[in-house]
């Protein structure tokens, strides 16, 4: 989880990702930053995030992103 929070703060500095629970609607994660985020996650966690994982529900909060990574690891 800490790795993820670090990646998130690299993509969007200055946001407290432990508190935010709607990253999409709030506009914190825009379209390009999600693609960037996914590239970083795939690299650093060595998991394959497929387009099927790219749904708004998976990007609501740091927690849901983390769940998505764990599912991808399985």
């Amino acid at each position: 989880m800490e790795d993820l929070l670090r990646i998130l703060s690299e993509v969007k500095p200055g946001v407290d990702f432990t508190k935010e629970d709607d990253l999409i609607e709030s506009g914190i994660l825009d379209s390009l930053s999600i693609i960037q985020l996914v590239t970083k996650i795939s690299d650093e966690f060595d998991v394959e995030i497929t387009p099927l994982d790219l749904v708004p529900e998976n990007f609501k909060s740091a927690e849901t992103i983390y769940e998505m990574i764990q599912n991808a690891e399985d």
Binding site: E10, L29, S31, L32, S33, T39, L52, L54, V55, P56
Partner: protein, 503 residues
């Protein structure tokens, strides 16, 4: 017909109940669109002004389209200001054109106070419900001529002050004549619109839609991060024609999206705005060989496009796609440093002449006179041409090839180098999803910045196979996420200023 609103009314007569503009939450039929645009036009006509700027400060919705057309009804020209644009940039734009009024929507009106400008503010929902004053609007149109401005569109000036290109009804009518003919746009066309209304590419789908009775479906920006939903949305709305920036097409290719979902109605894939890498284009073509693909090329100053190439043969990954030949009713020439037309495959600057040409930059005579000049090949009578600043040459097929920007052409160790050629080479390397090459003049070094899984050494080796030694980057930087500007193009200015701190 001389005025774009006349074309709109003609379409509305032919297809009153057909949808003109649609987004996720709303839509307007042609008869509703005309009604709303006339109402907005009537309210703005109350200002009793002519050929002055009116800002449309709204989200990209069908109502925003009505507001833009409403400004045209009032006899003035619009500038579109995006709701997410930084305040400083808006102030700069307003400083250039000094809009007399702002049409906006609930939720954005408060932001206008921050701008501290002296313009009347209209809430679109309030004025679009009023009864139009048909007589007044007809009187305004009768006095207008086709060379009156329709909109002013801003491009980023390298100096920091944005340049506002003034485009007339005549320009848009001449330009869309070509669009409609070249791509067979008609009432069965359904555009999936990706580009913002403040970007010249949107002129193509926006105005060819209202001239033909096509439908323009606004794709919410967020779908480009949720591509499965993007395709679903396109299928739900039966989108059959797209005109996107290459970055958007590359997202699809880089994710191997067609393994999971497929567009069902798509027929035409048009792109412009930056170089389309052939690796990603081939991904599209391999998946959908039967579709129509065309590479469009041109600046805001020629309304949107001046040359185009319909993809009709195979291109190896990493080779460059031609920009083709001049559009119908548009002429281009390749001119060398001596002001003479280039011969054979000599490289030169692309000049454009004809009715697509804008009138210049608002309130900026210096920049206007340096870019819009007397045709150097014609001394007999006054004739303006636009100097694009793009370096091009003809290939063996008689098609134009884009070599790079005049300001990207660098001299390095005595060689004239197009950074675009190095970018093409890098784009073909495995594990490189996007790349940009910049030149650090202070240190006379070529810097390659890329995003992707490839290791630097691998990219270096791949480049060695494709470009001559003197073009090899002096430095290769891996970036986790390429920066993009608000139009979705790679932000080269940022890269030039910040590449040293990336690693």
């Amino acid at each position: 017909m001389k005025n774009i609103t006349e074309y709109l009314e003609q379409t509305a007569k032919n297809f009153p109940d057909k949808t003109a503009f649609r987004d996720e939450n709303s839509d307007l039929t042609y008869s509703q669109l005309v009604m709303k645009a006339k109402s907005i036009g009537t309210a703005l006509a109350g200002l009793e002004r002519k050929n002055v700027a009116v800002a449309v400060y709204m989200n990209k919705t069908p109502m925003c389209a009505a507001a833009m057309l409403g400004v045209a009804y009032s006899g003035n020209f619009y500038i579109v200001v995006d709701s997410k644009m930084p305040v400083e940039r808006i102030k700069n734009m307003f400083g250039v054109v000094e809009p007399v009024a702002v049409v906006t929507e609930d939720g954005l009106a408060d932001n206008i106070k921050e701008l501290g400008i002296n313009a009347e503010v209209f809430i679109c929902d309030e004025i679009s419900g009023q009864k139009p004053d048909e007589n007044k609007l007809l009187e305004i149109r009768r006095r207008m001529i086709d060379t009156d401005p329709l909109y002013c569109l801003f491009t980023s000036g390298s100096t920091g002050v944005p340049k506002g290109t003034v485009v007339s009804h005549r320009n848009v009518i001449a330009y869309t004549d070509w669009v409609i003919e070249a791509f067979d746009i008609n009432e069965n066309t359904v555009f999936g619109s990706q580009t913002p209304f403040y970007f010249s590419m949107s002129v193509t789908d926006f105005f060819s839609t209202i001239r033909t009775g096509a439908e323009l479906v606004i794709i919410p920006k967020k779908y480009f991060s949720f591509p499965i939903k993007l395709i679903q949305y396109m299928n739900d709305n039966k989108v059959n024609t797209i005109y996107w920036v290459p970055s958007a097409l590359c997202i699809v290719a880089n994710l191997d999206l067609f393994k999971y979902t497929k567009p069902e109605y798509l027929e035409k894939v048009l792109f412009a705005g930056e170089v389309m890498p052939t690796k990603q284009l081939n991904y599209w073509i391999n998946n959908f060989p039967e579709l129509f693909y065309a590479n469009l090329f041109g600046p805001t100053e020629t309304t949107d496009i001046c040359t185009y190439y319909v993809v009709n043969r195979h291109f190896e990954d990493g080779t460059s796609l031609p920009i083709g030949n001049a559009c119908n009713n548009c002429d281009v020439m390749v001119v060398n440093d001596k002001g003479k037309e280039c011969t054979d495959s000599e490289e030169g600057e692309l000049y454009v002449r004809g009715s697509f040409l804008a009138y210049g930059y608002y309130n900026n005579p210096e920049r206007t006179s340096s870019a819009f000049v007397q045709n150097p090949l014609n001394n007999a009578y006054p004739e303006f041409v636009y100097k694009t600043g793009d370096i091009v040459k003809y290939n063996e097929y008689g098609e134009l090839i884009y070599c790079g920007r005049k300001d990207f052409q660098i001299k390095h160790m005595g060689y004239r180098i197009e950074l675009g050629e190095i970018e093409n080479g890098a784009a073909a390397a495995d594990g490189v999803s996007v790349n940009a090459c910049i030149y650090d003049a202070a240190e006379d070094s070529i810097v390659m910045i890329y995003e992707g899984k490839a290791k630097k050494e691998d990219l270096f080796d791949a480049l060695k196979k494709r470009v001559p030694e003197y073009m090899m980057p002096n430095r290769i930087i891996k970036i986790s996420s390429m920066p993009y500007n608000s139009n979705g193009k790679i932000d080269r200015v940022w890269l030039r200023n910040n590449f040293k701190t990336i690693e």
